[in-house]
Amino acid sequence: MTPLVLALRSSPQERLDLSPLVPHRLAGKTAAEISRLQLDTARDPVTVADIFRLRAGDAGHIRIEGATDRLDRIGQDMAGGEIVVEGDAGNQAGRAMRGGRLTVEGNAGHWTASAMRGGHIEVAGSAGDRLGGPLAGETAGMRGGVVVVRGDVGARAGDRLRRGTIIVEGRARDHAGSRMIAGTLVLRRGAGRLPGYLMRRGTIVLGESCDELSPTFVDCGAHDLVALRLMAAFVREHSAAAAAALRPPLRRLAGDMAVLGKGEIFAVME
């Protein structure tokens, strides 16, 4: 199947909103109609044709060539199909995504997978702050699907995570899994300060140590749990390296006792 290719002409002058360029919104549109779609975020109108050279193809498979971090909201509300980003993605890539597959071959910006509900996102490089997190005023972050980041992630990865799995092969910065409601966050190279800050429920796996653990997490001992085997089998499908972090026995830390305290951090034995 020949993909629909959007090749960037040059780096845009302003940040652009690429949310119209998702498979279900482009389905049935001609190349001319797609070319006229507006992507601007400032006063002057900017169309697809102004920014990209378009090569017609199957709208279910979109390829964005030469992408830069000024391209925001790639894959927003995506319901199916596939988008491959050759280069970097801006902020909110895969926001509120419901299905399909989004691959970023470079780095991704802040709020990647924000409020995602389903589907699969893979970032070959690193991702910015608040991976999967909610925007201001939203009560929950990611609610389903799988996110895999091969590099590092910024602060508050998995903020208010409600459901779904985030796998980070690198290291997370401070407050990973802050305010988690449920879901699973696997951090192969550990985290910065205070992982699980104010988490209510959910699971964080630290493959390596963190800079500082909150005193409001309590040690429940080292365990070889069946649930970790299930988790490892699932994670292995996406990242063999991250699955190794789930090798039992792991120390279970319950918290955050400053709030509900029904979350857990699994940490490697030291």
């Binding site: 749990l225 649930a227 299930l230 699932f234 029904k262």
Partner: protein, 301 residues
């Protein structure tokens, strides 16, 4: 009754009459096969007949660690009942009392069905608020804290309404010893057929029943097949038959029950009349009650 002679064994020209049932399956795993089997045997132990047990259940297959969700050895058990509500009740009680309680076990869906039955989503309340919900790859699990760690249980399992209960073989031999040998050979062969169980102890039942009784009971002994009453009642037995055993077969599909009866018949015929059965028949109610008819002549090896 007309019969066919197959390698010295008389095969009656009759059929087993079977009925539609509701069924489900669970996979039970543990740290060793011994404990997985123990949990499954306990769960399916008192489940020989829907008449007195509420359901019929048994072990379908033993699974290697490569075949189970948590990579531990396991057992697949099937449960059959006459209604969805009864099946739900039996599943919940039996897994709750026999699997949850067994050291080191976990329990998973063993069937993808048209509808779902509650499994972990009913048993999670044992966690008293400490239970943890986990979803991976479209599956939903409950983790319930217990004294040896956690009981992991999939939230639901599948239900099929296409199950068939009551496939059967009536095995008649010269003595109790040879009849049991034939029945054992048949149950061993049937155990290799997927998606079926033989719910009675060891897969064999000696107390074949008829519908009704002179007392207030739903079923009573089938005197026509009792060798000690051969001269006193209208018997179905020949003069050379000294013992009768029955194998009852429940399956997830009509095909599975037919395959199991075929495998059982083949094993009986292979054993031969000297060491095994002299005659094989099947139980039915004249064909007017059950929609599934398994004719022995169609199942011969």
């Amino acid at each position: 009754m007309r019969s066919m002679m197959v390698r010295g064994i008389r095969i009656d020209d009759t059929f087993a009459e079977a009925f539609p049932m509701r069924a489900t399956a669970v996979v039970i795993t543990a740290d060793s096969m011994r404990w997985a089997r123990q949990a499954a045997l306990t769960m399916t132990g008192f489940a020989t007949s829907v008449i007195g047990c509420g359901c019929e259940a048994g072990i379908d297959a033993e699974l290697s660690s490569r075949q189970t969700p948590d990579r531990r050895p396991g057992v697949r058990a099937l449960i059959f009942a006459v209604s969805t509500s009864e099946l739900q009740k039996q599943l919940q009680n039996r897994v709750g009392q026999c699997v949850l309680t067994t050291a080191g076990t976990a329990c998973y869906a063993g069937l993808v069905g048209e509808e779902a039955l509650k499994l972990g989503s009913a048993l999670r309340f044992f966690g008293d608020g400490w239970q943890i919900s986990k979803r991976f790859a479209g599956k939903h699990y409950w983790r319930v804290p217990v004294m040896d760690g956690e009981f992991v249980c999939e939230a639901t399992t599948g239900l099929t309404k296409n199950a068939v209960g009551g496939g059967n073989l009536l095995i008649m031999g010269r003595s109790a010893e040879t009849t049991l040998a034939a029945a054992e050979a048949a149950t061993k062969a049937i155990s290799a057929v997927p998606d079926v169980i033989t719910p009675f102890p060891g897969g064999i039942v000696r107390s074949g029943s008829k519908v009704g009784s002179k007392y207030k009971a739903p079923a009573s002994t089938n005197e026509a097949y009792c060798p000690t009453l051969r001269g006193a009642v209208k018997t179905a037995l020949d003069s050379d038959v000294g013992s009768v055993l029955e194998i009852v077969i429940d399956g997830l599909t009509e095909t599975a029950v037919g395959d199991a009866m075929r495998a059982g018949l083949a094993a009986i015929v292979k054993l031969g009349p000297k060491r095994g059965a002299l005659r094989v028949s099947a139980g039915n109610y004249g064909g007017k009650l059950g929609p599934h008819h398994f004719h022995l002549k169609d199942l011969l090896p």
